[in-house]
């Protein structure tokens, strides 16, 4: 579904990603794990078009994404839930979801998508008239995911969904992401919480200082001593 | 001696000999333009003392007007010599600057907000001058009471050459102050503030005190510039010496030249004044407004295409050709 071949990217004179090759198959859930500053967020931003790749190829369902800007990539069916949630704090919950369906193809199915999102996250239905900024951290993350679903994507990019959440909330959130997955969405997730995320996904990549160091099935990867020591915290 | 210094010395010699060079019948006019350039360069330099540290003021017209009007009113009504009046004007301006700048700094009024607060201050001074028309002549302006003949005490001279040398000295003093500020310890500190307030504060720099110091210095120098201008023109007017128009003109000249270099304000001021005079001569009385129209258009173009100023951009280009090695090593 999504394939990156030898992608290099960065900011100014700084190169954050070197030679990244990565693929996500339809229906899969894939994780990218790695320490802070390893380039995980940059990777997500390259896929969603916020950062332009310098070299390499990005292909999504046989369309090349190279040179596409962020607002064009959404219409291909990729929704990016950015790091730090980035909801619109002064807009109501309902308006935030409305913005998720901004592009014309999503607007047509707006009512239907809305019901789906509200069924998945009932708390958003209860709070639809509230300002998004007044929600708790967990609720804001649900809103961010719900907003992404409103664009009727095929692939969802989740950047650090558990960041800044209380441990109880983290568990609930991963449950919810699992349910999103069961709805048939393909997911590419970046996480610090390696232990939890490896339970969720099929495959994982280990990113370190901008390069992919390891990849494999989630079950196998968690066995690796290296990963366990460095990131799982055992 | 480095080539830069030789050029500097040559320029200085030329400026010193200026009034005695043969200029035919144009002498008075050329001197007049040069005096204006020197005084406004000094004022531009005063602005850039704070402007380059991220304190973009759109209200320097307030300081200019305060300086010019204080000294003129003191002379006209109390016959107080501009030598003392000028000091009083600068002192008053510094106090006003303090009254505005302290809360600005204390309450973190920065960026757009700082620019607009200072703009309001400029308008307040302009409107006060107009409102107090019994004293100030309102929007008609006010002429300096003439002294009998040349008078050092009254700072009035018939010969433009006196003003020329006086403004040359003023300009050099301005450059010297700019240079000292640039070199002082404050420089590193203030640049850190320009980049990031909290970061600078966390390394123990007293943000408020530095901002105060720079603002007071800048305001005081601007007031002195206003005094000099008033003495030279011997006429003050609220629209040419206070308010948004003149404030923007000062900033324009500096940004056009480049506010991060010693000679930037001078280059920018010289160019804008020369351009204005040239257009005025070309169009004369035929197309009123045309000269200013072209001036405005050029300003927009310069700012779009030469964002770091004429002098700054030129220097960048030269540096790129002359010292590519040093530039490359500066890259992270």
């Amino acid at each position: 579904m999504l394939e990156l071949r030898r992608v290099t990217a960065g900011y100014g004179h700084f190169t954050a990603l070197w030679d990244i090759t990565l693929r996500v198959e339809a229906g899969e859930a894939v994780a990218v794990v790695g320490p802070n500053g390893s380039g995980k967020t940059t990777l997500m931003r390259v896929i969603s078009g916020l950062v332009a790749a310098r070299t390499g190829e990005l292909v999504f369902e046989s369309d090349s994404l190279a040179g596409r800007r962020a607002h064009e990539i959404v219409s291909h069916g990729i929704a990016h839930v950015p790091e730090g949630r980035r909801i619109f704090p002064l807009l109501t919950v309902a308006d935030n979801l409305k913005m998720g369906a901004f592009q014309p193809s999503a607007r047509k199915g707006f009512a239907e998508s809305l019901v789906r999102v509200y069924d998945l996250f009932p708390v958003l239905r209860e709070r639809q008239k509230q300002r998004a900024g007044s929600l708790s951290g967990g609720e804001q993350q649900m809103l961010a995911i719900g907003r992404a679903l409103m664009s009727r994507p095929k692939l969802i990019l989740l950047d650090e969904p558990s960041m800044g959440l209380a441990p109880v909330m983290v568990l609930r959130l991963f449950d919810l992401i699992r349910r999103v997955r069961e709805e048939g969405y393909t997911i590419l997730v970046v996480e610090q919480n390696v232990r939890q995320v490896l339970k969720l996904v099929d495959r994982a990549y280990l990113l370190e200082v901008g390069r992919i160091r390891m990849e494999g099935r989630a079950a196998e990867l968690s066995e690796q001593d290296f990963v366990r020591k460095a990131y799982v915290g055992l | 001696m480095r080539p830069g210094r030789v050029a500097g010395a040559a320029l200085l010699a030329l400026l010193a000999l200026g009034p005695f060079l043969p200029m035919g019948g144009m002498r008075q006019y050329i001197l007049h333009v040069l005096i204006q350039i020197l005084i406004w360069s000094f004022i531009g330099g005063a602005w850039s003392v704070m402007g380059r540290f991220g304190l973009v003021s759109l209200g320097h017209g307030a300081f200019l007007g305060l300086g010019a009007y204080t000294v003129t009113l003191l002379w006209n009504f109390y016959s107080l010599t501009p030598w003392i009046g000028g000091v009083a004007a600068a002192a008053l301006t510094v106090v006003v600057a303090l009254v505005v700048a302290y809360p600005c700094s204390r309450f973190q009024v920065v960026g757009h907000y700082f620019a607009l607060v200072t703009l309001a201050v400029g308008e307040v001074v302009r409107l006060l001058i107009i409102a107090e028309r019994n004293w100030t002549g309102g929007s008609l302006g006010l002429s300096l009471k003439p002294a009998t003949g040349d008078s050092l005490l009254a700072m009035q001279f018939a010969d433009k050459r006196v003003f020329y040398y006086a403004s040359l000295v003023l300009w050099l003093a301005g450059l010297w102050i700019w240079y000292r500020v640039d070199r002082s310890m404050a420089r590193a500190a203030m640049e850190a503030i320009g980049e990031d307030e909290t970061a600078a504060a966390s390394v123990g720099i007293h943000v408020t005190r530095f901002k105060m110091g720079i603002t007071m210095l800048s305001a005081g120098l601007t007031a002195v510039g206003g005094v000099a201008y008033a003495q030279y023109i011997s006429y003050v007017n609220p629209d040419t010496l206070a308010g948004i128009g003149v404030s923007l003109r000062i900033v324009f000249a500096v940004v056009l030249g480049g506010m991060y270099s010693l000679l930037g304000p001078t280059v920018g001021t010289a160019l804008t004044i020369a351009l204005g005079e040239y257009l005025r001569v070309v169009f004369g009385l035929r197309f009123i407004g045309m000269a200013e129209t072209i001036y405005g258009l050029l300003l927009i173009l310069f700012i779009i295409f030469l964002p770091s100023g004429i002098y700054g951009s030129l220097r960048d280009v030269v540096a790129r050709f002359v010292r590519p090695a040093r530039l490359a090593s500066g890259v992270r």
Binding site: L50, A70, H71, V74, H80, P82, R86, F88, L90, L91, D95, K98, M99, F102, Q103, A106, R107, R147, S151 | G51, V56, L58, P103, C104, R106, F107, Q108, V109, H112, Y113, A115, L116, V117, L119, A120, V121, E123, V124, L127, A131, I244, G245, L248, V251, F252, V255, I288, G289, M290, A291, E292, T293, Y295, G296, L297, L299, I300, I303, I304, P307
Partner: protein, 288 residues
């Protein structure tokens, strides 16, 4: 001592002035909130639109409403033009350069207007009656201008609340990048915003020319006031700008009657400066 009826009259006139000021402030604030640049020359665009209405009505004999509609269109066009020609090249540059580029436009428009139309004051006179209400004299023209401003602002409110692009405009002013991730082209949102902001300038021009005479330096008279209102209300904060318009117009109107016109403005500006210090949290909170 001033007769209370004059104070009341001044207060009512203040409200009427506030309506048109609010229109200006909302237009400018809309653009600031989205594009993050203060258009120093905003009120000079209004001045150009005022001239348009003047010429259409007084020279070519058009009906006022049609000239007004054309003024709105010209405003929108000017807004687009300013965005495309001046703002787009300097997006992301140093804030001082952004201020100055539109400041250059101010010089350009002022002097070009001087060149084309001289510094004479020009007026559109309407043969509308002065109403006498309980001893107060109120201009019917001003009442109409006020009513139209209110309707226009209501229209803006509905646009920003109810339409996709309007909501997107509010969203962009909160998080530009996130809105790109929703599939909104930032350039397109900027265009729409600049056109709407410009159209409001055009409408304000049509409403101002029937109350005040126009001259090339009209912008210098209303410009600073408009910026102050925006800052007082909170840059980008529409409701705040609306309220601030009436606060400022009341101060100017009543101050003008009690002391003098200039002192009315002086007090308004001083209030602005003091408020910047006294209520920085309230005013600055959103931009933190």
């Amino acid at each position: 001592m001033i007769d209370p009826i004059f104070l009341l009259e001044a207060a009512v006139n203040g409200v009427l002035l506030g309506g048109v000021l609010a229109l200006l402030a909302l237009g400018l604030n809309l653009i600031f909130g989205v594009v993050d640049i203060v258009w120093i020359a905003y009120v000079d665009l209004v001045m150009v639109c005022m001239y348009l209405v003047y010429f259409l009505v007084m020279v070519y004999g058009w009906p006022l409403w049609l000239a007004g509609a054309l003024s709105v269109a010209l405003g929108a066009l000017l807004g687009l033009g300013v965005h495309l020609l001046i703002i787009t090249p300097i997006l992301g540059k140093a804030p001082v350069n952004q201020l100055l580029a539109t400041g250059g436009l101010l010089f350009f428009l002022q002097s070009f207007a001087t060149f084309l139309w001289t510094t004479d004051h020009k007026t559109v006179r309407l043969a509308l009656p002065i109403l006498e209400v309980g001893g107060m004299f109120l201009s019917f023209t001003r009442l109409i201008a006020f009513a139209i401003s209110l309707v226009a602002m209501l229209g803006l409110w509905v646009f920003l609340r109810r339409t996709y692009i309007g909501t997107a405009i509010r969203a962009v002013s909160q998080d530009r990048e996130a809105m790109a991730l929703m599939g909104a082209d930032p350039q397109r949102v900027y265009f729409v915003t600049s056109a709407v902001g410009g159209a409001m300038a055009g409408l304000a021009g049509a409403l101002l020319i029937i109350q005040y005479s126009v001259h090339p330096f009209f912008g210098a008279a209303f410009g600073p006031l408009t910026f102050m209102i925006c800052v007082l209300g909170g840059l980008g904060n529409m409701v705040g700008a609306f309220v601030a318009s009436f606060v400022m117009s009341e101060i100017i109107s009543i101050g003008g009657v009690v002391i003098s016109t200039e002192m009315g403005y002086v007090i308004a500006f001083v209030v602005f400066i003091v408020m910047m210090f006294a209520r920085p949290g309230g005013i600055l909170a959103r931009r933190g």
